[in-house]
């Protein structure tokens, strides 16, 4: 039965994903490599559970990329996109042109004709949007400068697929290639493209939003999801019809809808489909790798993959340098984009159709790109484990600032969201404060606001000394790095016993450690605002303002006592567990107790009870 076959296929793909991906993730290899390995395993050369990945499955899987770009578009408000126009054209264009030329030149060294060389150059110049975005977001790097630049380059590559599809037929050796995407004259095609783009923008503005508003008012969750899918599928179809990249079309639709009130709902509706389909896509790539060919020519492939990555990597470093990326960011950028991309597979089959090169060379190129994608997660791992640590261990690339504020009574370490409030209050009172911060950007920003902030690592003895720790009275630890905060306490205790330490605690565990260290003034960073919120909630529920404040203050006292009590046992995990369990057991009792205590706390205001 047909459906049985489909179900069986689905079963194989899902099983492969569920088994392999968590293992890969646990090993620190990232989910993309997990999917690729799963594809190799279930593929035609190992377990033979699925075919070569051509046809139906691949088609569905490619749709994952379309959805991904729709989601990327949703994240990108038009003004943000406009703001990125420089990097997109500059970094993106430079990367593509340089890579194409370099690879074409190398190909010509191997006596390939210039047309073939240029085709391969364009094919190899693209990177894998799926792998890069997935890996960067797994590392929370999308918002970093490297992430932004990577994204710009990827975006340019995606857009450039369209002109490349137009150019490739012109490179056909015979000069009589298959017809291009559309047979009309160029101006007509340009007009069609313009019309479609305008239709998407106008549709997104004036048609889609009212439709979604209506659907949301019906309050049928699955219909909303269906509509979201319909939108993406519909745009993809329309784009294919006029010969444009579906990914680009949905990306555009995403950007148009990025300002709409349904952005988050669309995002969460499409997200799971995207994830699964992308997984499917990677499995298909894994399955399509021709292991036999690789086994026959191991050295050729090793050389090709290595060469591809090295060439792209070096050019990316240059592009990153010209894009003014800082060195550690530049390495992340270059490692991220050094692999071949999924658009290569599309372009390779298109070029083969146009007889630019034969099927055998096409197979070799597919395997090379696929292998480079297999290697890509390892590149990220190398960057994470070997390259980046070099930068962070030498992090004060910028020398600590000369501090000319000796003799201030307060040293404030950390001037982020916690420290800056303390600094402002003290400043208002005219209390001289020496502020240290490790975030160079933050330091420069705050300085521009006219405050005295110095760049430097407060855990270093010399810096504390030059900040005047010998004469200061108070050291406020407002940094959010727990280990570093403990380190500073140790240093300060040893060398500056005159300092009273006020420490910010990230959470309970950190507070326990601080209590055990004997720090008297501990401030759990969210306690104050949580209690304020509780106070506001009580008042909104009709509790008198003064009573609410007293209840909250009583709770604060009770909770602080609890932390100090539990801290004694927190070093011994077993003891802490029994204590904590006991607290949970008596939680109900505890709550009742608390209620009693608060209720009877203010008996002074009660009239005496006449017997």
């Amino acid at each position: 039965m047909e459906s049985e076959g489909l179900l069986f296929q689905a079963f194989i793909y899902l099983l492969a994903a569920v088994v392999t991906v968590p293992i890969a993730k646990q090993l620190g290899l990232g989910s993309v490599l997990g999917y690729l390995l799963a594809g190799v395993i279930v593929g035609p050369q190992v377990l033979r559970l699925v075919g070569r990945g051509e046809g139906g499955v691949m088609h569905v899987a490619e749709f994952g990329i379309v959805m991904m770009l729709f989601l990327v578009g949703l994240e990108l408000r038009p003004n943000l996109l406009w703001g990125l126009r420089g990097p997109i054209v500059g970094s993106g264009g430079l990367q593509q042109v340089l890579t194409t030329i370099a690879i074409a030149a190398i190909a010509m060294l191997f006596r390939l004709p210039i047309q073939v060389g240029l085709a391969i150059g364009m094919i190899f110049s693209a990177s894998s949007t799926a792998i890069v975005l997935q890996s960067l977001s797994e590392r929370n790097l999308l918002v970093s400068k490297a992430g932004r630049t990577s994204f710009s380059v990827l975006l340019f590559q995606d857009i450039s697929v369209i002109p490349i599809l137009a150019i490739l037929p012109l490179l056909a050796v015979s000069g009589a290639g298959v017809k291009t995407i559309d047979s009309g004259p160029p101006w007509q095609r340009a007009l069609v493209i313009l019309a479609v783009v305008l239709a998407i923008v106008a549709g997104g503005r004036f048609l889609i939003r009212p439709v979604f508003r209506y659907l949301a008012s019906i309050q049928l969750q699955e219909i909303f999801t269906a509509a979201a899918l319909l939108l993406v599928v519909g745009i993809a179809l329309a784009m294919q019809k006029v010969g444009l990249s579906p990914a680009l079309g949905t990306f555009l639709a995403g950007v148009v809808l990025a300002e709409s009130e349904y952005r988050h709902e669309l995002e969460s509706d499409i997200e799971p489909f995207k994830g699964l389909l992308l997984g499917l896509f990677f499995i298909s790539i894994g399955a399509s790798i021709d292991l036999r060919l690789i086994a026959q020519l191991p050295l050729l492939f090793a050389g090709l993959v290595f060469g591809l990555i090295v060439v792209k990597f070096l050019i990316l470093l240059v592009v990153g340098k010209l894009s003014k990326l800082e060195r550690s960011q530049n390495f992340t950028f270059a490692f991220a984009l050094a692999q071949g991309g999924e658009f290569a597979f599309v372009l390779i089959s298109f070029a083969a159709q146009n007889q630019i090169f034969d099927q055998r060379l096409g197979n070799i190129l597919v395997a090379t790109v696929a292998l480079s994608m297999v290697v890509a997660p390892f590149l990220f791992t190398i960057n994470d484990n070997f390259v980046q640590p070099r930068f962070s261990s030498r992090l004060p690339e910028r020398a600590p600032d000369e501090i000319d504020e000796k003799g201030n009574p307060v040293i404030l370490a950390g001037f982020g969201r916690f420290g800056h409030i303390i600094g402002r209050v003290l400043n208002l009172q005219g209390i001289k404060t020496t502020v240290l911060d490790l975030d160079a950007d933050q330091v420069d920003l705050v300085r521009r606001l006219g405050l005295k902030v110095f760049y430097g690592d407060a855990s270093r003895l010399e810096l504390l000394r030059s900040a005047g720790a010998e004469r200061a009275k108070i050291l406020v630890l407002a940094i959010d790095d727990e280990e570093k905060s403990m380190q500073i306490i140790e240093t300060a205790r040893k060398h500056f016993p005159n300092l009273t330490i006020l420490a910010r605690a990230k959470g309970r565990d950190h507070a326990y450690r601080l209590v055990r260290e004997g720090v008297d003034h501990i401030f759990r960073e969210t306690l104050g605002s949580s209690l304020d919120a509780a106070d506001a909630a009580l008042r909104l529920l009709g509790v008198r303002a003064y009573e609410a404040r007293r209840i909250v203050n009583a709770f604060r006292k009770y909770d602080e006592e609890g932390v100090r009590e539990l801290a004694q046992y927190s070093e011994n995990p077993d003891e802490l567990l029994t204590r904590a369990r006991k607290r949970i057991e008596t939680l109900e009792e505890l709550f009742e107790n608390e209620r009693q205590r608060v209720r009877h706390a203010d008996v002074g205001w009660d009239p005496p009870k006449p017997e």
Partner: protein
């Protein structure tokens, strides 16, 4: 002509109050009568001095309504006096801004009236206990009126009696607002309750 009445209300545990709650309820929403709930406004004792002074300037009669705690007011009233009645505003050089206004206390006591006598267990009279308030008013050139007192709140559970006190309080506030009382007599009675009682007799 209608006078403007400001009731400075202070009760740190209003949620437990029975009598002050009824009194306050009886004068809620009266025209030209502003109820200013101090513990609700300043749970942190962070009194907005400028605002409080403006409120005083905007009114002609100031009523301090509160339970009688330890022969005096709840703590926030004292804090209010300390901060709001500034030198140069309420007293001292140029401190004439409150001159001519009327002030009185409206209090509830646990013990009965008989307790506030030489023979009673509180020994002093209410008027004697209130002398700090009286002198504060005099020092600020205000006219201090006899207090309105609800005695014996500990044993006051009779609904009818409670309603009578509430109604009396309303007549007091309305009467002060409409300037209906003859306050020119050389010797006013000790408690405003007496004046109110004599008026009902007339009506």
């Amino acid at each position: 002509m209608s006078l403007r009445v400001l009731i400075l209300f202070a009760h740190p545990a209003f949620q437990k109050s029975r009598i002050n709650r009824r009194l306050l309820h009886a004068v809620q929403g009266l025209e030209n009568v502003k109820i200013h709930d101090l513990y609700e406004e300043y749970p942190d004792f962070q009194i907005d001095v400028k605002r409080e002074q403006q409120l005083l300037l905007d009114h002609d009669v100031i009523v301090l309504q509160h339970p009688f705690f330890w022969y005096s007011s709840p703590a926030l009233i004292k804090e209010w006096e300390d901060l709001v009645l500034e030198y140069g505003f309420a007293y001292g050089v140029g401190g004439t801004r409150l001159a001519g206004k009327r002030m009185l206390s409206a209090i509830t006591t646990g013990g009965p009236e008989t307790a506030y006598r030489r023979a009673g267990y509180n020994y002093f009279t209410i008027r004697e206990f209130l002398t700090p308030f009286e002198q504060t008013a005099r020092f600020c050139k205000m006219e201090y009126l006899p207090p309105f007192v609800v005695f014996g709140s500990l044993r006051l559970f009779d609904e009818e009696e409670l309603a009578e006190h509430a109604a009396a309080y309303r007549r007091l506030i309305e009467g002060l607002r409409d300037d209906r009382f003859d306050l020119t007599q050389s010797q006013l009675p000790d408690y405003f309750n007496v004046i109110l009682a004599s008026q009902t007799d007339l009506v």
